[in-house]
């Protein structure tokens, strides 16, 4: 029963924190690393494009959000039951849905011109 509750808390908190951390990472460009596809090179943190090609932050944003989500999920899983028992499972879809709406707003200029 306890392991079920721990797993449930991990899954819900992971989804919420991952989606919100990803939104924040994109918004503030908190990429754990940058990939330069033209030269096949990686660099720590958000690095500007190098000569001759663009910089890709997408993988770095996912890594940042993944660490935040997994960390928060693990903390939720080991917390005493009284803290997570009333955690609403619907947050697992509501948080990503809200983040998707914000992404639509952030990217609106692509569709309004």
């Amino acid at each position: 029963m306890n392991s079920q509750r721990n797993l449930s808390a991990f899954c819900v908190v992971f989804g919420v924190v991952f989606s919100l951390a990803y939104l924040l990472a994109v918004w503030k460009n908190y990429a754990l690393f940058t990939y330069h596809p033209a030269i096949g090179a990686f660099a720590w943190g958000a690095e500007k494009a190098r000569e001759g090609g663009p910089a890709m932050y997408w993988y770095g944003w996912i890594a940042t959000a993944g660490i935040a989500g997994a960390g928060a999920g693990l903390i939720a899983a080991i917390l005493p039951a009284r803290y997570t028992l009333r955690l609403w499972s619907g947050l697992a879809w509501l948080a990503p849905l809200c983040a998707m709406v914000v992404f639509g707003y952030i990217l609106r200029n692509y569709f309004l011109h």
């Binding site: 899954c11 090609g53 990503p96 983040a99 990217l107």
Partner: protein, 154 residues
């Protein structure tokens, strides 16, 4: 690996994923008890049996898309900008972010489909399935249109 082969594999796994998720979403939201014709039979499947396959297919499709992304960034996006197609570029930007949102929901989706008889989480299961289906349909259609605009090897 050749990008054209990769994009075909990406599309094939996406087709399997969209089929499984559409079956599941319709069975959850619009189930048919006594199936007679094709559409009713499509909706009359037991939705829980698709859950594990959907998780695996999502991960495969996501990984293949991530593998292809540098090719898109170097060879396709630049051309779309030169062709002055901001809506196509914006649609892809949404596709990449929506795909990550789907990834964030995957553990909860898997967990709540492990016990489909548990009615206390039926609504959560239904909304997770619907949102995942929307993401997969959006990403599939955007990918298809972009490939028509500027397919790999074009």
């Amino acid at each position: 690996m050749n990008p054209t082969i990769l994009v075909i594999l990406h599309a094939l796994s996406a087709v399997a994923l969209i089929g499984a998720l559409t079956h599941q979403a319709l069975a959850v939201w619009w189930s048919a008890r006594q199936p007679v014709h094709f559409v009713q039979r499509f909706r009359a499947v037991p939705p829980a049996v698709y859950a594990n396959a959907i998780v695996v297919l999502y991960l495969i499709t996501f990984a293949l898309g991530g593998w292809l992304y540098p090719d898109y960034r170097l060879n396709i996006r630049v051309v779309l900008e030169q062709m002055e197609l901001p809506m196509a570029n914006g649609s892809f930007e949404l596709k990449e972010h929506f795909a990550v949102m789907g990834l964030s929901m995957l553990p909860a989706y898997w967990y709540f489909w492990r016990a489909p008889a548990d009615q206390s989480h039926a609504r959560t299961r239904a909304f997770l399935t619907a949102l995942l289906a929307f993401i997969v349909w959006w990403n599939f259609l955007v990918g298809h249109v972009l490939n028509n605009i500027r397919g790999f090897g074009a």
